[in-house]
Amino acid sequence: MSQLIAVRDIAKSYRQRQGSQTVKALGGVSFSVQRGEVLGLLGPNGAGKTTTIKAICGLVMPDSGTVTINGFDVQRQRLEALRSISAVLEGNRNLYWRLTARENLEYFAGNRGASRRQVRAQIDELLRQFRLADKGNELVNHLSRGMQQKLAIAVALLAGSEIILLDEPTLGLDVESGYEVRQLLRDIQTQGRTLIISSHDMPVVQDLCQRVVIISGGRVVADDQVSNLLKLFATRAYQVTLGAPLSSAQLSRLQARFTASVDHPAKTVVRVNLEHGEDIYELIEILRLERTPVEAIDRTTINFEQVFLQVINGAKPPEETHAL
């Protein structure tokens, strides 16, 4: 795979509306995206994701640093760079609600220089693929939120650009629509397009993305394959099922020593992260204080949401990881 997008040390501060103070949105973000890759761009609210996305789309000018797409500098050769990218930034708000689904597709294609005749067959195919064929002549404001979201993605696809950037593609969708959008994104992925997905929906990220860049506080805190991150964090997560409740002394020692949580459903279950393999002995030692019976020790299956939370909370994967 060859490099398609290069984000190099971009920094951005915004002046506050009142007063002369500035707020730092990005403090030197760098990463690259390979051709055909599906990249997840993640981070908590206010982390700088949107600014990064808009800098890639040429909608925000960084204070320093560069973004190149296909070798074109987004600031200096903006129009050339924009040929390779299309985006769904605000989902259904990216559409004209008083135009029909087909009119929206035709209008946006026209604004990229294509005639109606040139895109007619493509529009028919997209409406069919997105299961909107019978809604082509419906006004957008009569469509459901899920349909509007699909239409916004279809608009981005019709542009024929190599890169498609999706900001929160499943936000506000019901389970069925969310699943359908996810299925569509998987289909797009198989067409060899490069996708950048910014989302808080971790199952979507885990399902679709090969690699993630996690931004927190305006900096990249992790840049790795999803499978690597899952592996790195999963090796240290354990679930210990106990036959009796923990004493308060045990509990405070556990919480002081480890990142641990305790549930009390039918049994007392301790979920604990062990930074080093030998930490398990220390855990057993704490349990032995009150001779607490241990019924089971299981490696827990960590999901990507937990990995994400650990990364942004500053937990470091052991040794040689690619995390920053």
């Binding site: 915004y14 924009l82 990229r112």
Partner: protein, 255 residues
């Protein structure tokens, strides 16, 4: 490529005029009501000896005022509306460029308005019983006049991209345009330096006094063309500067 952008924007303008029909009808009604007010004002309290000339003057000036408002302030409304809807950033991401898309939108708007104004002119001429002179000589005068108006449209669009809420300014501008379209150059000759006033003045002479192309001297043409070139260039440069400011401050998607 730009032709397809123009076609797409013309279709959108026409479709939205149909879908927002009450708004379109109220615009037309406003034009007609303002004309009627002026017409009856002149007929009832004006000097009967000059009533005919005055009514003709009002008909054409009113049409130009309407056109100026539509051509120039519509871009401000369009930009504000696009920002509210969330579509402005999509337009700004087109490889054709936002300034080109807005230009095509303005051309589409002006062309549509010209058709409406022509129909309204016939209606008001019939109402007034005063028939103006329509001459092909108007076309080469009208073109640079419209280009000059587009330049001002770019200025309004640029301000809208940064400030978004410029409704108060747009309302004030309506009255500035009223002065620019109604005051003849013979009264205030320096207004020739202002955008589109020379064109409006010459068109008025073609329609009311039967002035032909032969009646225009080289200085008239120079003034018309220079006015169009200067205001269009200034407007475009200003708009691009505003677009840069908006991108630097992250204002494009904000409302």
């Amino acid at each position: 490529m730009l032709y397809n952008v123009l076609v797409a924007n013309s279709r959108k303008v026409i479709i939205e005029m149909q879908r927002y029909l009450p708004n379109t009808l109220s615009l037309v009604a406003t034009f007609y009501i303002i004309f009627l007010a002026m017409f009856f004002g002149i007929s009832i309290i004006g000097d009967p000896a000059t009533a005919e000339a005055n009514i003709q003057f009002v008909i054409i000036s009113n049409a130009f005022w309407f056109l100026a408002i539509m051509a120039m302030t519509s871009m401000g409304w369009e930009v504000t509306t696009e920002a509210t809807r969330g579509t402005l950033e999509q337009l700004a991401m087109s490889p054709v460029g936002l300034s080109a898309i807005l230009l095509m939108r303005m051309v589409a708007n002006i062309a549509t308005q010209l058709v409406i104004i022509a129909a309204m002119l016939v209606l008001v001429m019939w109402t007034a019983g005063q028939w103006l002179n329509f001459d092909l000589a108007m076309v080469p005068i009208l073109l640079p006049t419209l280009i000059s108006m587009i330049g001002i449209g770019y200025v309004v669009a640029g301000l809208s991209i940064i400030f978004k809420q410029i409704q108060a300014l747009l309302q004030i501008m309506q009255f500035v345009f009223l002065g620019m379209t109604f005051v003849p150059l013979s009264v205030l000759p320096w207004l020739e330096l202002a955008p589109f006033v020379k064109g409006v003045d010459l068109t008025r002479q073609v329609m009311t006094q039967g002035l032909g192309l032969g009646g225009l001297g080289p200085l008239d043409w120079l003034s018309l063309l220079l006015n169009a070139a200067v205001y269009f260039t200034l407007g475009l440069v200003f708009f691009r500067w505003c677009e840069r400011v908006a991108r630097r401050q992250g204002l494009l998607g904000q409302y």
